[in-house]
């Protein structure tokens, strides 16, 4: 038939010459000549339709070979109106080949199509439906919907089949043309059609609907599909549907796809499928032809896609291993893909194929390699992750296909995050990944990475911080791509500045390195913004010394034409002033208890609000014994135990982001009446144990007792910070961290520590504590003592770290919060005072007093009703935390020196506990009510006097305040 004798000589020669060309240039020459000829010929009038037809075939060639033949498009449209069926079909074919669905010319076809669809000649209808299927567009879908739907009940099967497919397109183009109900009814009639070809077409429609997610409404049809599949595999179809004696393979595959979607995660539906699935797989497996493999493969996919069944899985695994053992790469490809499916259900089937998988990786077949990578990705776990990531990175380095590389990049970072064996390994892998895939680093990748770093930093602490700071500052010495430089800047700014907060040399070194980068060749100006931000963060470190340099840099960039740089430079420059101010200030006090909310809370409680009561069960369980759990711990700790936590860095790192939440439930709520227990505390041991067991997130330090205190500190601070009112104390007293003291050994602790060490290797406690405070948010943040009882604690009252943390790269807003957070406490002051009458009634000062061992050493009653309390600083701190009736006031007084102050204290008849510069703490007890009074004062030469009085009974506070006001103001 290849003679082409049915063609005119001209067309015959043209096709022949095209067929004989051996190069693109030759071909182009012929086509260009042809285009010229065709253009002149088109002008001939009264061309016989046979000639028109041949011209269109030439046009098909012209366009197929890459040239423009738009000048004949209109002729194609004319030809569709031909009375001759063959010419009409060619007209339609040309339209579909030449015209875009959005072409305006198509409008000219609508009337013809409508007419043809309504034709009584079935062949014309079939032609028209074929054409509609290709040409229909949104603009005239409405005009054709009606006639097409009518044809769904046509007598001829081929018409019904095509009408079904066109209906699918109509629905894709415009949902409103056919209601969902109508559509469902019509496709149901489609699968019930007596002609298998119509039924087969309807499968496509079901499959599409299922893929779109409409699974539930078709579940009742599972039985129908199952029985259809059964009939097909049992050769119930006409043998015309056989392909290589295999019955209806494409129909089987379509049905399997449908069943997979129906049975996914649904045992009931899957149970209906298992049997037919088993026999379909068996029959397909019996063949050794490609189409049999195709069906086998689809069965495996179905088995791993529906609710898993052991027997079928075994069967599937057998088929897969046959694929994998084949020498044919197509079958290996199927095998690898099938294994990827199965692995997601059970990893065990991979083991026997390990060698094959490695072979496929080394294969010279890119496609196979790619699929194998996918498989590796899916089968990665902790054990094999190092080796797999290594392989993947190797491919990232060597591949030149950017789609493939992007895919690899995403996969490696996911695996690294999920399975990296150590932090160091994680960082190093990430850096290699960034180096070879820097073009794929976008904001998401970066932010995600930063989050991981900061989380790890919070978990592990200084060690990790130093580690990454070192790694990244080393990187700075090289030439870096901007994308990596941004990451480095962030790490140095965010983590480096915290780690070396007290280390001027390191800070200077880092700053130098960063400044150097400003002069290097940068790809984009946004990188400068990152560097500026990094500098600003470094500058907020306490030991920072290079203010002049950074100021000069900020000043320089304040003139920058890049608005972002300019804005940042201005912001940071301004902030730097605040920084200095904050660093210099002594009086920044933050009320961690948010006692300014006391009144509100009280009011709400009076209105019937539930008291805050964090999960008692958790607490009890964590404490081991319910009886001991809520008991108070009044000073059984020795001084040593409270010490040690405090290192020079306390307070500095207050602003690190944190992850303390998991310990929250262990806090005994301050409003927790039921939790309050009058029993004498059982001494240190159980209390020590408690936070250890609970505080899984809490740090472990080199010495056990220290650790406990820290834990409690954090917990307490969190708790009180969140709850606002803390009248009813449990053993979770705030124990302020003091200078480091030699550790005390506790056998119990050792064990616990070991356990926790396993859970959180190298967790360091000094980081932990500040971190935890911070996450509470700014208002609840600093658990501030009324007085810094230890000189090393002075920095605690300074919030430079806040600024540090708030200088987030892309979010300068929080800066304002940090500034406003400080005065907030003061703003609330008057309220606290005016509300004192409402202060909590659930207080039981007498009992509490009587149980407070440190206060039992009081001397006999003295003037008024007060007696001095002979307690030490730590006990003072404890008590301060326990008593929540704090009155804060700033007075203009006669007190201008320590002597004046002490005189005042003597008048009240309480005693001084400690004095640091102008800050004095005193304590006493009300001999009548046995309530305890704690006083913190800070005097000034100019007579301004800051006072905080904390007492178990609010009346004591009022009384003393009134006394002082009367006598000394």
């Amino acid at each position: 038939m290849s003679s082409g004798s049915h063609l005119s000589k001209e067309l015959h020669d043209l096709i022949k010459s095209i067929g004989e060309t051996r190069s693109k240039q030759e071909e182009d020459k012929i086509i260009i000549k042809e285009v010229q000829q065709l253009k002149t010929k088109l002008n001939e009038k009264n061309m016989p339709s046979k000639k028109v037809k041949e011209m269109l075939i030439r046009a098909i060639y012209i366009e197929m070979l890459g040239h423009d033949a738009s000048f004949v498009h209109i002729n194609a449209i004319h030809l569709t109106q031909s009375k001759n069926l063959a010419q009409k079909r060619l007209g339609y074919l040309c339209c579909s080949l030449f015209l875009d669905n959005n072409s305006e010319l198509l409008i000219l076809l609508v009337a013809t199509l409508q007419k043809d669809l309504a034709s009584t000649n079935v062949h014309i209808v079939v032609n028209a439906l074929t054409a509609v299927g290709k040409l229909i567009s949104k603009t005239f879908v409405n005009a054709l919907t009606e006639p097409v739907l009518k044809l769904l009940t046509h007598n001829t099967d081929i018409v019904r089949k095509k009408a079904l497919m066109v209906m699918q397109i109509i629905r894709q183009l415009n949902q409103d043309c056919i209601t969902e109900q109508d559509y469902d009814d019509r496709i149901r009639r489609g699968i019930q059609d007596k002609e298998p070809s119509v039924m087969g077409a309807a499968f496509n429609l079901y499959h599409e609907e299922l893929k779109k997610g409409a699974v539930n409404k078709y579940k009742p049809l599972t039985g129908t599909f199952v029985s259809m599949l059964k009939q097909i595999i049992e050769h119930k179809l006409h043998k015309d549907y056989d392909y290589h004696r295999f019955p209806g393979p494409w129909l089987q595959i379509k049905l399997l796809q449908i069943l997979t979607l129906l049975g996914a995660n649904d045992l009931k539906v899957s149970e209906q499928i298992y049997e037919v699935l088993g026999s379909t797989l068996r029959r397909a497996d019996d063949t050794t032809i490609n189409i049999g493999y195709a069906v086998t493969y689809q069965c495996v996919k179905c088995i791993s896609g529906i609710y898993p069944q052991q027997g079928l899985l075994e069967q599937a695994a057998n088929s897969v291993s046959r694929f994998l053992k084949s020498d044919n790469n197509n079958l290996k490809y199927l095998g690898i893909n099938a294994l990827t499916q199965i692995v997601q259900i059970s990893q065990k089937y991979v083991l026997e194929h390990q060698m094959t998988i490695v072979d496929c990786l080394e294969s010279n077949d890119d496609t196979l390699k790619k699929e194998t990578l996918e498989l590796l990705f899916k089968m990665t776990n902790e054990q094999n992750c190092e080796i797999i990531i290594q392989k993947l990175i190797h491919f990232l380095k060597t591949s030149s296909d950017s789609n493939f590389k992007k895919d690899l990049f995403v996969k490696i970072s996911l695996l690294n995050e999920k399975h990296a064996p150590t932090q160091e390994w994680f960082i190093k892998t990430a850096n290699t990944l960034f180096e070879f895939g820097s073009e794929f680093i976008d904001n998401d990748v970066r932010n995600n990475f930063f989050k991981l770093l900061i989380d790890n930093f919070n978990d592990i602490g200084t060690e990790f911080g130093e580690f990454i700071t070192d790694i990244y500052s080393d990187l700075l010495k090289n030439d870096l791509q901007d994308n990596i430089l941004k990451i480095v800047c962030w790490v140095i700014g965010e983590i480096g500045s915290q780690i070396y907060d007290q280390n001027p040399n390191k800070l200077n070194e880092l700053t130098q390195l960063v400044i150097m980068k400003l002069d290097s060749q940068l790809e984009s100006e946004t990188t400068i913004s990152w560097i500026l931000t990094c500098l600003a963060k470094l500058q907020s470190a306490r030991a920072f010394q290079m203010f002049d340099q950074t100021r000069a840099i900020f000043q320089k960039y304040m003139q920058s034409k890049n608005l972002d740089c300019q804005q940042r430079a201005i912001d940071f420059f301004t902030l730097a002033k605040f920084n200095a101010a904050l660093k210099g200030s002594q009086y920044i006090t933050i009320d961690p208890k948010m006692s300014f909310l006391d009144a509100y809370v009280q009011q709400e409680r009076l209105r019937g609000a539930q008291p805050y009561n964090p999960s008692l069960q958790v607490k009890a369980a964590a404490l081991g014994s319910a009886a001991e759990a809520p008991s108070l711990n009044f000073g059984p700790y020795s001084d040593n135990k409270y010490g040690g936590v405090k290192t020079g860095t306390f307070g500095v790192e207050e602003n690190k982001t944190t992850n303390q939440n998991s310990s929250v439930p262990t806090i005994t709520g301050p409003w927790d009446d039921t939790g309050y227990n009058q029993k004498q505390p059982p001494v240190a041991k159980p209390v020590i144990a408690a936070p250890m067991a609970i505080g899984s997130t809490v740090g472990i330090s080199s010495n056990g007792s220290n650790q406990t205190t820290t834990t409690k500190t954090t917990m307490q601070s969190m708790g009180s910070g969140q709850m606002g009112v803390n009248t009813n104390q449990t053993q979770n007293n705030y124990i302020p961290p003091v200078k480091p003291l030699p550790p005390k050994e506790d056998p119990n602790l050792k064990e616990k520590q070991k356990l926790a060490n396993q859970l959180f290797p190298s967790l360091s406690q000094t980081q932990q504590q500040p971190q935890q405070t911070q996450k509470k948010g700014i208002t609840a943040m600093a658990t501030q003592k009324p007085m810094n009882t230890n000189p090393t604690l002075v920095p605690q009252s300074k919030p430079p770290a806040q600024v540090n943390n708030l200088l987030e790269i892309d979010d300068p807003l929080p800066i304002q919060q940090s500034v406003s957070s400080v005065p907030q406490v003061y703003v609330q002051q008057p309220q606290i005072i005016t509300q004192k009458t409402v202060v909590p009634q659930q207080l039981q000062p007498q009992q509490q007093w009587s149980q407070s061992p440190p206060l039992q050493t009081f001397s006999q009653q003295q003037i008024k009703s007060y007696i001095p309390a002979n307690i030490n600083v730590d006990q003072y701190e404890q008590l301060w935390e326990r008593n929540q009736n704090i009155k804060e006031v700033t007075l203009q007084s006669k007190i201008k020196s320590e002597q004046d102050f002490k005189k005042m204290i003597q008048t009240i008849n309480i005693n001084v506990i400690d004095v640091i510069e102008q800050e004095i703490i005193c304590a006493g007890a009300n001999a009548e009510s046995k309530s305890c009074v704690l006083l913190y004062g800070c005097y000034n030469q100019n007579g301004s006097l800051d006072l905080k009085i904390n007492s178990t009974d609010p009346k004591d506070g009022e009384y003393i305040l009134a006394l002082i006001k009367r006598q000394f103001c």
């Binding site: 063959a86 080949l97 079939v126 074929t130 195709a294």
Partner: protein
């Protein structure tokens, strides 16, 4: 869904191209050129599947003519489409009797019609050769009239 079906010979000359989603003449040329180069670069032992420009490509060579199908990446059964190509070739063979490249060239519209019967809206609608060829025979008769 199937996005396109191509027949391209070893010289890189397109012998038939049917697209189910419109591409301009230029885009088609580029794509076809890239694809045939990729196919030619692969040897007999390598598998018949590729990924290219977000298409899953399945190809099969008959003498000097490559049959190439481009599908959505989500399409799941490559082997089924590989066999579909063979079914297409068998159908062409049944119609043309010992089909060769020239048959398709001289009867390009017929080859298109056969494809149109087998694939609609990018999905396989008919694999039964008798059903596929019935309308084509009707057209042949119509021409003779």
């Amino acid at each position: 869904m199937i996005n396109f079906i191509l027949m391209v010979n070893k010289q890189g000359q397109t012998r038939l191209a049917q697209y189910f989603q419109f591409l301009s003449v230029k885009e088609r040329m580029t794509l076809e050129g890239e694809l045939i180069r990729k196919c030619l670069s692969r040897n007999e032992t390598q598998c018949s599947f590729l990924e290219h420009r977000g298409y899953k490509i399945i190809y099969r060579r008959y003498a000097s003519l490559y049959f190439i199908i481009g599908m959505d990446l989500e399409e799941e059964n490559e082997m089924a489409y590989l066999e579909f190509i063979h079914n297409l070739v068998e159908t062409l063979d049944k119609y043309f009797e010992n089909v060769c490249e020239l048959d398709i060239m001289f009867n390009i519209e017929k080859a298109h019609y056969i494809l149109e019967e087998m694939v609609m809206n990018g999905q396989i609608v008919e694999t039964n050769k008798t059903q596929i060829l019935a309308p084509i025979h009707v057209l042949d008769k119509a021409k003779d009239e």
